[in-house]
């Protein structure tokens, strides 16, 4: 019997292939974006994990020179011979021509703490080859490929090494980096021997850094990934609207068949089970397609994501994508879960359907009851409002966004209903009245597609407003901040002194850039020492400050903090914060800082040097006439021996910063456009399915004298009117979204609140785009209608129920 029922059920889809395609495509597209985003996140997290595992130096305490110079190899031997169980590590970058540099790590496998060594793929560990002769380098294949030809060591693939990183023996690394006898850090084994002589006695220039929690990178980048996840969910929600529509329609159309099956004696539970199974099968097919598409999306977007994560957080993320169970399983699970959600209502109404109920499909019966929907919408919008006022935390921010969007979407059909009713009331003439009445009649069937369109448009308005506002602010910030014409990095104390001495020559001002990483008020923060200079006074904009803040700062009577620290640590102007041993100062100014998400404290140069005498400045900003920059660069290379890559001029630095910014939001923009495409597709599918169902309603109008051509034009016009109305509603919703992103999500994710700018031209363009999409979607059904054989319209009367 199962087979017969099955054949009857499947028969419906065979007669309505378009509906089946709608169902599968909607689900697949929604899943694709979700799976794509999850794939990106999984790849990034795997990269952090690889970095933490294979180069998990931060898991170990370490010895570092206080001055920032390298450690002499003799010091290492002296420490070992004094009973310190330490292992040397050297690090540098190998710069292949034109491509981005590869991080090279040199270790000593004999003393390295357990778990620091890479796992080569398939190859046997060959200690003789690793330790002697040209040596071996381990790394992910793409990093190995980019090594310069000067690396003669054998290249061994080791996928678990952090991306863009290769590991080799310390002797080989010293040779490749041209730093014989130098060591950057000494890692301490967790358990040290009993008899150790004090560090100050053996190596007074070294300081002990305690191990750090390994989840640092994951925590830092959490907000970034949460952002992506939110977008994935948004597009899935749009997809779900399509699926819900398709399933609902199919169930309505099958009511007659289902009644017949039940009348023939098919038990209800079996019918329900088979239909659930049918849906599950579709969900799996759609999920698989979605995951495959998602892989494509992720592969296309990953390089940009990797670049922005590197630029923003310094996190190395692999540029190539692996098929990880975490995300493709979650994609399939989401497809199944979404289908269950979308199909539950239909199955529920089937279960409660009286055996003898009308078997006619009812277009208007497929939507929620308007009153209930309006109430739900109001509830969600209220929740969003409440969260905006009282919510805290990034997750609350995203819940608020979700409630706002869903509430707005649910509010659309009731609002459109009101508008259409008012229009009908004011309409003159029978055709106009019929047009509005027929629009109202069609609204329930179209409302899901229109809601999807609303979501996509609102998201587009919101996100583009946020990104553009951010861009304006950021560009202004760069112009203020990157005021120095040339930035240089000294390799040693001699070069640093020579650069300082430039102040007497062609250079108007030399600004040393000194910093130490620390914790302020329980938050990780960077402490900067600033030389009092007009460059800062003229360019830095305070969000809040006491009068004459710069004077207080220069006198060492106060410090400046950035907005991130101000918000995260809930500090206020005038609060006294402990900065170092015996140094506590009040906050005299708070500045906007959009460079990176970490907290910052700036204090005067003299205070900084007093508190951190071991930190010698190595980076400098140089102020001089822009046209003299090339000459100075030449001079610095010739006289001081500064390397080419130790100098970067203002324009290059700005371009670099901007490219990081653009890449960060390239992903967002791409996801946004894809969501809009999904919504357009939803519209097309809804109109196509409705077209078939509307024949009985069109036939009488046609019979009364309206030509098919006229009817088709009216249909086209209706699609445009509905799209325009939706667009009009999407604008305020999108602006609310933009506000939420700028004032809530950004503050939580990055720690800065951005001013909101409006871009009317962009919104107009978007609305035109939406209208064009709607017109395009309506064109095909309208053409079909215009060419419909009159016999079919006549047939409606013959088959009149």
């Amino acid at each position: 019997m199962n087979r017969a029922i099955w054949a009857a059920l499947i028969g419906h889809w065979r007669r309505n292939p378009l509906q089946w395609i709608t169902l599968v495509a909607g689900l697949a597209l929604g899943t694709a974006l979700w799976a794509g985003v999850q794939a990106i996140n999984a790849e990034a997290r795997a990269s952090y994990a690889a970095a933490a595992a294979t180069l998990g130096e931060t898991r170990f305490a370490m010895l570092r020179p206080t001055s920032g110079d390298a450690i002499a190899q003799d010091t290492y031997i002296a420490l070992r011979r004094a009973g310190w169980d330490v292992s040397p590590l050297i690090e540098g970058r190998l710069r292949p021509s034109k491509e981005s540099p590869v991080r090279l790590i040199g270790i000593d496998p004999l003393t390295a703490p357990m778990g620091l060594l890479p796992t080569p793929e398939g190859a046997q560990a060959e200690p003789t080859a690793f330790l002697t002769g040209p040596g071996q380098v381990f790394g992910p294949p793409d990093a190995l490929d980019r090594l310069p030809a000067t690396v003669t060591a054998a290249r061994i693939a080791a996928p678990d090494v952090a991306p863009n990183t290769v590991i080799t023996d310390i002797g080989v690394a010293q040779r490749l980096l041209g730093r014989a006898g130098k060591i950057d850090r000494l890692l301490l084994a967790p358990d040290q021997p009993l008899t150790r002589r004090p560090l100050a006695e053996i190596a007074p220039g070294l300081e002990l850094i305690p191990p750090q929690e390994s989840a640092d990178m994951a925590r830092l980048t959490d907000s970034f990934h949460l952002n992506l996840t939110a977008f994935g969910l948004l597009s899935f929600a749009v997809g779900l609207f399509i699926v819900h529509g398709a399933i609902g329609l199919a169930f309505e159309q099958r009511r007659a068949m289902l009644r017949n099956l039940r009348a023939l004696g098919v038990p209800l539970p079996r019918l329900l089970a088979l239909m659930a199974l049918e849906l599950a099968a579709f969900a799996l097919i759609a999920g698989a397609i979605g995951v495959a598409l998602g892989y494509g999306v992720a592969a296309a977007l990953l390089p940009d994501v990797a670049a922005s994560l590197r630029g923003l957080y310094g996190a190395e993320v692999s540029g190539s994508l692996a098929l990880r169970p975490a995300w493709w399983l979650s994609g399939l699970a989401l497809a199944l879960g979404g289908t269950a959600l979308a199909g539950a209502g239909a199955l529920w109404s089937l279960a409660r359907m009286p055996l003898l109920a009308s078997a006619q499909p009812q277009a208007r019966a497929r939507a929620l009851r308007p009153a209930l929907q309006a109430a739900l919408a109001l509830g969600l919008l209220g929740l969003a409002w409440a969260l905006a006022l009282w919510g805290t935390g990034l997750r609350a921010g995203f819940v608020m966004l979700g409630a706002l969007l869903l509430g707005g979407a649910l509010a659309l059909p009731p609002l459109l209903g009101v508008v259409l009713r008012l229009s009908q009331a004011r309409a003159k003439g029978p055709v106009a009245q019929w047009f509005w009445a027929d629009s109202r009649q069609q609204l329930p069937g179209l409302s899901l597609a229109l809601m999807a369109l609303l979501l996509a448009m609102a998201a587009n308005v919101g996100v583009s407003t946020m990104v553009s506002s951010f861009r304006l602010t950021f560009t202004g910030f760069l112009d203020q901040r990157l005021a120095a014409e040339l930035y240089v990095t000294a390799a040693d104390a001699r070069q640093a002194a020579a650069i300082e001495a430039l102040a007497d020559g062609p250079v108007r001002a030399v600004l040393p850039l000194m910093s130490v990483d620390t914790k302020i008020a329980g938050q990780p923060a960077t402490l900067h020492g600033l030389r009092d200079d007009p460059t800062y006074r003229d360019n830095w904009r305070f969000l809040q400050s006491i009068p004459n803040a710069w004077d207080a700062f220069a006198k060492g009577e106060g410090v400046l903090i950035n907005e991130q620290l101000y918000r995260r640590a809930a500090l206020q102007l005038g609060d006294v914060i402990p900065l170092a041993q015996g140094l506590r100062l009040p906050i005299v100014g708070i500045y906007g800082d959009y460079g990176n998400p970490v907290g910052q404290v700036s204090l005067s140069e003299s205070l900084f040097q007093k508190s951190f005498p071991q930190v010698a400045p190595r980076r400098f900003g140089l102020r001089l006439a822009p046209d003299q920059v090339p000459a100075l660069q030449e001079e610095l290379t010739q006289k001081i021996g500064l390397a080419e890559n130790a100098m970067i001029d203002q324009a290059a630095l700005k371009a670099l910063s901007r490219s990081v910014f653009e890449r960060t939001f390239a992903v967002t923009t791409a996801l946004n456009l894809l969501t809009l495409a999904v919504a357009g597709f939803a519209m097309l599918m809804s109109l196509l399915t409705l077209a078939a169902m509307r024949l009985p309603q069109l036939a009488p109008v046609w019979a009364l004298g309206l030509t098919r051509r006229r009817l088709a034009l009216l249909d086209l016009a209706r699609a445009l009117v509905l799209a325009a109305l939706t667009g009009a509603l999407a604008l305020p919703l999108g602006l609310a979204l933009a506000w939420a992103l700028l004032a809530v999500v950004n503050v939580e994710a990055f720690g800065w609140r951005l001013p909101m700018f409006l871009f009317p031209a962009d919104y107009a363009r978007l609305n035109l785009l939406a209208l064009a999409a709607a017109a395009l979607a309506a064109l095909w059904p309208a053409l079909q209608l215009a060419r419909l054989p009159p016999a079919q319209l006549l047939g409606v009367f013959r088959n009149e129920r």
Binding site: Q73, D74, I77, R80, R81, A82, G83, D85, D108, P109, L110, T111, A112, P113, M114, G115, L116, L117, P118, T119, P120, Q124, A125, E126, P127, T128, F130, L131, T132, D169, I170, G171, V172, Q174, A180, D191, Q192, P193, L194, T195, R196
Partner: protein, 349 residues
């Protein structure tokens, strides 16, 4: 490859891999081979022989605390070369093919403390100088004006020791004038000992410092291919009898066991015995670290009237290091009474 696997491979020539100590029987390439004609010279031969593949400075001591509690002590420095080097022309820096490993242990009647150190040659972290004598790895060292009087020190995360060794007898050449045959196929090593050290010093244990006195035994051995291909490991015995005599014996386990022994008279005069003269019979086996280890033995050297039972002070003397083995103090009873050390390698889990 985890660090352990890499280290196993690195010390493969020295102590063999997981499948057993049979790795010591692999081909020795271009290393110098032990030669029965070689005459050992001192103090030069106290230093390293970089043209040979493997070498060790191996001290074991039977000690007693003030309350009569017996203790064992071990201090070992291994050298293993990835490639042969001529003496005097060694590579300097990280390119050196010499690898060093130290093992230190203290055994009490109910505990065993172990530490291991590893080092590259060529950078000064480990090495040996013949005169004035100094052997070191990290802060572990064995040094003195000569080999007759040395300070010995080592430390782990939970123990340390510092003792002075004073020789009361001459160096003893093992085998034939220091040429010690290890298999019927002719594998051999250069091998000499100093079995006449008296010891005094201090152990630092988790429960506090313990002053100790006793006797110690130094073994010096170098070779390029120690075991025949079929040999999987060895049982090695060094016994100090109460009457002042000493005895060294070993069994190399293979398809056919190979034994050798040296009887050392109280004045230091050695009498070597060829394969078969010395017999070692396991009496009682116990599970230690997943292995079935004989911790009581019957040892016989009929030519010298020796028929003794040796018994481990504690089964816990398992050396849980890169290449694990059992090494610990024993008591001797039977025809002769005394103390000694037992080493058992190459037992599969």
């Amino acid at each position: 490859m985890n660090a352990k696997a890499l280290l196993l491979c690195i010390f493969l020539p020295l102590q063999a891999a997981a499948q057993g100590f049979a790795g010591l029987g692999t081909t020795p390439q271009d290393f110098t081979q032990p030669n029965p004609e070689t005459v050992l010279r001192f103090p030069q031969d106290h230093g390293a022989h970089p043209d040979f593949r493997i070498e060790w400075w191996y001290v074991t001591a039977n000690l007693t605390g003030p309350d009569g509690t017996p203790y064992g002590l071990q201090w070992t420095l291994f050298r293993s070369a990835l490639a042969p080097e001529r003496k005097g022309q060694e590579h300097q820096g990280w390119q050196s093919p010499q690898l060093w490993m130290g093992h230190a242990a203290v055994t009490t009647p109910n505990a065993h403390y172990v530490a291991e150190r590893r080092a590259r040659g060529g950078i000064g972290q480990a090495g040996v100088r013949a005169a004035p004598f100094e052997a070191w790895i990290d802060d572990w060292q064995m040094r003195g004006p000569d080999l007759d009087r040395v300070q010995l020190a080592a430390s782990g995360t939970d123990f340390a020791y510092q003792v002075t060794l004073q020789a009361t007898g001459p160096l003893v050449l093992q085998g034939t004038k220091g040429y010690s045959v290890k298999s019927a196929a002719g594998q051999a090593s250069h091998y000499y000992s100093q079995p006449f050290y008296t010891v005094s010093g201090q152990l630092t244990l988790p429960e506090g410092p313990v002053p100790v006195t006793g006797t110690a035994w130094l073994d010096r051995e170098w070779s390029s291919q120690l075991l025949a291909a079929d040999q999987s490991g060895w049982d090695w015995f060094s016994l100090s009898f109460d009457d002042g005599a000493r005895m060294m014996g070993f069994v190399l386990r293979g398809t056919q066991d190979f034994t050798a022994a040296t009887w050392i008279a109280p004045d230091g005069t050695p009498t070597p015995f060829p394969d078969g003269a010395f017999m070692a019979t396991p009496l009682d086996r116990q599970q230690v670290a997943g292995r079935d280890l004989p911790l009581t033995w019957r040892l016989r050297l009929p030519a010298k009237g020796v028929d003794v039972t040796i018994k481990a002070l504690t089964p816990k003397a398992w050396m849980d290091v890169s290449v694990p083995y059992w090494e610990g103090p024993v008591t001797v009873s039977g025809s002769h009474a005394g103390v000694g050390y037992l080493e058992m390698t190459g037992y599969a889990p």
